[in-house]
């Protein structure tokens, strides 16, 4: 019992030590709290950046999905449209002669100044615009309004002398003014539109001649320089689609085959090691270097067409291959040895074992890896710039050998447009489309994986 009773001296020493430890504990727990707080802060910072980025892009981009339309009632004035009647088929003995005549007629129609028709309709809508110059008035609709009206007439020559209601786009500058993208308090010199034109736009908005609608043109038009308000993403979207098709068709079979070889068949040799080191390094080579490869090999040596989705697709295939190979190898490695042994035990050859039993089990992972690889390739910009895909292309590529733009390159081109007030929201809108496609792809990957894994 005596050993349990400490002497007063040692008791006071131990209580002093306890006090010191207590004091230390407070300090240590405080450090603990601070450390933990730092961790939470780091996560908050990372998540905060995600949130800020998305909110910022959406806040900027959503207004671009609204476009201002000018409702005109266009009078196809016979005095202004001074052309011969359109040729009819029965006037000519053969198809060829009819085609020649109607092409000649269309040329004579194209030579007319259709801006006078647009101007007349605008003046009719705004009687108060009497002393405005034609230039000022024509700064309100987009410059392609005259083509739109001409094409209506070419398609239906009987419109001559009639009045038709037509919606045309408001010009980029007019939309800037309407949406407030440009500071309304700026002086006349800094405004892109003249004072009477701005006043007229405000009148139009008040009396309903100009109204807002959803900007389908962003999705259904091709890029345009002369009529910026009508510039759209369709060409770039189709170009991207071609490239992704090439990536899927080439990268998936080659990548999966390479992974199968390395994981299942390759003997332990120098060559195998070399291939493995190679793939790991390729996965970390900057994407711009792949662009240099494309420029030198595909375009300069093989003379493939410049700025074609084919070359872009090939470059992106090489870029995606390492990702797909590494992911597929991981999936193959995860297949249980029991499955392999069972197949071999039943007399299957190694090839049969791999293709009939192992590969089907890894299908969900390979699918996911493919989708993620494609999503990654979708956003690549730098290599495409080097193979000439930053050219201005105002058409939808019909084959992978035609000139084309791509979604991320279109973003790059639009952010560099001089009409910043108009193109900054439009760029953000293009980014929203790109992000939308990527989120869709990633979502599909997650959904398919969970579904297929449940079934397996």
């Amino acid at each position: 019992m005596a050993t349990d009773i400490a002497s007063p001296a040692s008791r006071s020493a131990s209580s002093e030590r306890t006090r010191a430890i207590r004091a230390g504990l407070v300090r240590r727990h405080a450090t603990e709290q601070i450390f933990r707080g730092l961790g939470i802060a780091a996560i908050a910072v990372a998540l905060g950046f995600v949130a800020i980025l998305f909110i910022d892009v959406f806040r900027k981009g959503i207004p671009a999905f609204v476009q201002s339309n000018v409702h005109l009632s266009v009078f196809f004035d016979p005095e202004l449209i001074d052309v011969d009647p359109a040729p009819a088929r029965d006037q000519f003995p053969s198809d060829a002669e009819y085609t020649a005549a109607s092409l000649k007629w269309q040329r004579s129609v194209a030579l007319l100044n259709w801006n006078t028709i647009v101007e007349a309709s605008l003046r009719k809508a705004a009687p108060e615009a009497g002393d405005m110059t034609a230039r000022e008035i024509l700064s309100i609709p987009e410059t392609d309004a005259r083509h739109e009206i001409r094409e209506m007439f070419v398609a239906n020559p009987s419109l001559l002398g009639q009045t038709v209601d037509v919606d045309v786009l408001a010009s980029a500058n007019a939309q800037n003014w309407i949406k407030g993208n440009i500071d309304r308090s700026l002086g006349d010199k800094q405004q892109q539109l003249s004072a009477p034109a701005r006043a007229l736009i405000d009148t139009f908005v008040e009396n309903g001649t100009i109204s807002n609608g959803f900007a389908w043109s962003i999705l259904t038009n091709v890029d345009s320089r002369s009529a910026p308000a009508s510039a759209g993403l369709l060409g770039a979207f189709v170009g991207t689609l071609w490239m992704m098709l090439i990536v899927v068709v080439l990268a998936v079979p080659i990548g999966v085959a390479a992974a199968i070889y390395l994981e299942e068949f390759a003997p332990k040799s120098r060559l195998t090691d070399l291939i493995e080191v190679n793939i790991n390094n390729l996965a970390a080579v900057p994407s711009i270097v792949f662009g240099l490869l494309g420029a030198a090999v595909f375009i300069n040596w093989f003379h493939l067409p410049i700025s074609a989705p084919l070359v872009g697709g090939l470059v992106l295939t090489l870029l995606t291959l390492p990702t797909i190979i590494i992911a597929t190898r991981g999936a193959l490695l995860g297949v249980s040895p029991a499955l392999r042994q069972a197949a071999l035990g039943m007399g299957a050859s190694k090839t049969q074992m791999v293709f009939h039993h192992v590969l089907p089990v890894t299908f969900p992972s390979i699918l996911t890896a493919t989708i993620l690889g494609v999503a990654h390739a979708l956003g690549e910009t730098a290599p495409l710039l080097l193979i000439g895909m930053k050219a201005f292309v105002a058409s939808v590529p019909a084959t992978p050998l035609d000139q084309a733009a791509a979604l991320p390159v279109q973003i790059y081109l639009w952010q560099g447009n001089e009409n910043r007030n108009f193109f900054e929201p439009r760029t953000a809108a293009a980014i929203m489309v790109l992000l939308g496609v990527m989120i869709l792809l990633n979502g599909a990957a997650i959904y398919l994986r969970s579904r297929l894994e449940k079934r397996a």
Binding site: R28, H29, T31, E32, G39, A42, I43, A46, L47, F49, V50, L53, D56, V57, I254, A257, A258, Y261, L262, F265, I275, I279, N280, N281, L282, A284, V285, P286, S287, I288, V289, L292, L293, A295, A296, V297, I299, N300, L318, L321, P322, S349, T351, A375, H376, G379, E380, A382, L386, K390, I411, Y412, Q415, E424, T427, I431, L434, L435, M438, N442
Partner: protein
């Protein structure tokens, strides 16, 4: 059109040959009641292989040499006296006109009678060679098929042959990776070598002025790498200052503190950052972060440019956060539990365990992750193209615009592919520099990470 016909013919060949082998095999089995070595699919594939390889070889030879032969024929159709009068460009022009006439599109301007004649000659030549090649390919394939069919017996080890072909195909596919590397190295080295015939390598690697004369002419301008290198390093350093603390702390919290549910929700959200295309980050830097930093600088009396090393560096750091955090997360999870339990047993708090035991143990791996992140930052392009200001001047102020290696590659090489002067060739010299730097960083980092893994296995 031609490609579609060829594809169609090949498909028909494939189907016919497979079916032939398959039915022969079936007949063997049913007629004699013998035990056939391979299953009918293998006999089908066997005869398909024997059919497709000769056909494909002929078509590939034609694809390779056909263009040259057609060109020679077109040249031979130009009258001798006209041909002698043409220089290289004139000859190419004449050939283009002839080919346009042959394809039926027609050409601008008046057509000389000899052009018309050559056009129609080339047209019939093209048609005949195409048809001839196709027939030849089908005949060769047919011959292969007949041979294969004659070899199909009950004892033929068709499966072994087919499997050997399959594994050769697999090997060829993994060879694509090597080909890619060879292609990268070959193109970078040859074009960079051509660049160094214009510019002395010493002037390139140690020059302090970057002023290419893009107008062309005898004066090529100056190509000093150092301003670009300092710009790259400055932006990389800023990016690391942002990414490493945030990424590492986030990884520590997620792997050591966070409850399972929190981790499952938060981790994918952080990884969203890794999936966002860099052009989007570039736009964000250009229109949001840059102006914000400039206004912030004005408010505290600093002169910060909207497009500067700071802007690009911060946004690049944000981009790299998930990269750092997921790599560190993996590495922290690999440290054996016993180390942590030992520290807890001695009475250490959780943060003390992390700081004094876990991090030192994981340090090599984290250094590897850091180096991988550096290599990512060095090679990143679009953010710096948009937000770094493209001002290749040697200076050390991060608030000023800078330029980087990648930006200069983009500036010197876009759209221009004749690769004749140093103005565009410098892109490859810069690319080679970039490739070597990132390759060294990657190899070193992967080596460290692997050593670290082996240490705890």
């Amino acid at each position: 059109m031609n490609a579609l016909i060829v594809a169609g013919v090949l498909l028909v060949l494939l189907g016919v040959s497979y079916q032939t082998g398959w039915s022969k095999s079936r007949n063997l089995a049913t007629a004699n009641g013998v035990k056939v070595h391979s299953r009918p699919q293998y006999h089908g594939s066997y005869s398909a292989i024997w059919t497709m390889i000769p056909a494909l070889v002929i078509l590939l030879l034609w694809a390779w040499f056909g263009g040259g032969i057609a060109r020679d024929y077109a040249v031979s159709q130009i009258p001798q006296d006209t041909l002698l009068a043409l220089d290289q460009a004139g000859l190419n022009n004449a050939l283009n006109r002839i080919n346009a006439l042959a394809s039926g599109y027609g050409v601008a301007g008046d057509v000389a009678p000899w052009e018309q004649a050559a056009g129609s000659a080339v047209r019939s030549f093209n048609f005949l060679t195409f048809a001839g090649m196709l027939v030849l390919a089908v005949v060769a394939g047919g011959a292969g098929l007949v041979y294969a069919r004659s070899r199909i017996t009950a004892r033929l080890r068709a499966r072994n042959t087919v499997e050997r072909v399959i594994s050769l195909l697999l090997l060829a596919c993994s060879g694509v990776a090597i080909l890619t590397t060879v292609g990268i190295v070959a193109s970078l080295v040859t074009e960079a070598f051509r660049f160094f015939t214009f510019i002395n390598p010493i002037d390139f690697f140690f020059g302090t002025v970057w002023a290419p004369n893009n107008a062309g002419g005898a004066n090529h301008g100056q190509y000093g790498l150092l301003p670009l290198l300092t710009g790259t390093l400055m932006i990389t350093a800023i990016a690391m200052l942002v990414a490493v603390p945030v990424g590492l702390m986030a990884a520590i919290y997620l792997s050591q503190y966070a409850p399972r549910g929190f981790r499952a929700v938060v981790k994918p959200f952080i990884e969203i950052l890794a999936g966002i295309p860099t052009i989007v980050f570039g736009f964000f830097a250009l229109v949001t972060v840059g102006p914000f930093l400039r206004d912030f600088g004005n408010a505290i009396g600093l002169n910060i440019n909207a497009t500067s090393a700071l802007t690009a560096g911060i946004v690049m750091g944000i981009m790299i956060i998930p990269f750092v955090s997921s790599l560190s997360d993996d590495i922290l999870n690999q440290v054996p539990r016993s180390l942590r339990d030992g520290a807890y047993g001695l009475g250490a708090t959780q943060s003390e365990t992390i700081r004094n035991v876990l991090l030192p143990a994981a340090l090599p791996g984290i250094v590897g992750a850091f180096l991988l992140a550096v290599s990512r930052a060095v090679g990143e392009t679009m953010i710096v193209v948009l937000a770094a200001g493209n001002s290749p001047i040697l200076r050390g102020n991060p608030f000023e615009p800078v330029s980087t290696i990648t930006v200069s590659i983009v500036n010197q090489l876009t759209g221009d592919t004749d690769f004749t002067g140093p103005q565009s060739l410098v892109g490859f010299a810069l690319g080679l520099t970039l490739f070597v730097v990132t390759l060294c960083l990657n190899i070193f980092a992967l080596y460290i990470v692997r050593r670290f893994r082996e240490q705890y296995e």
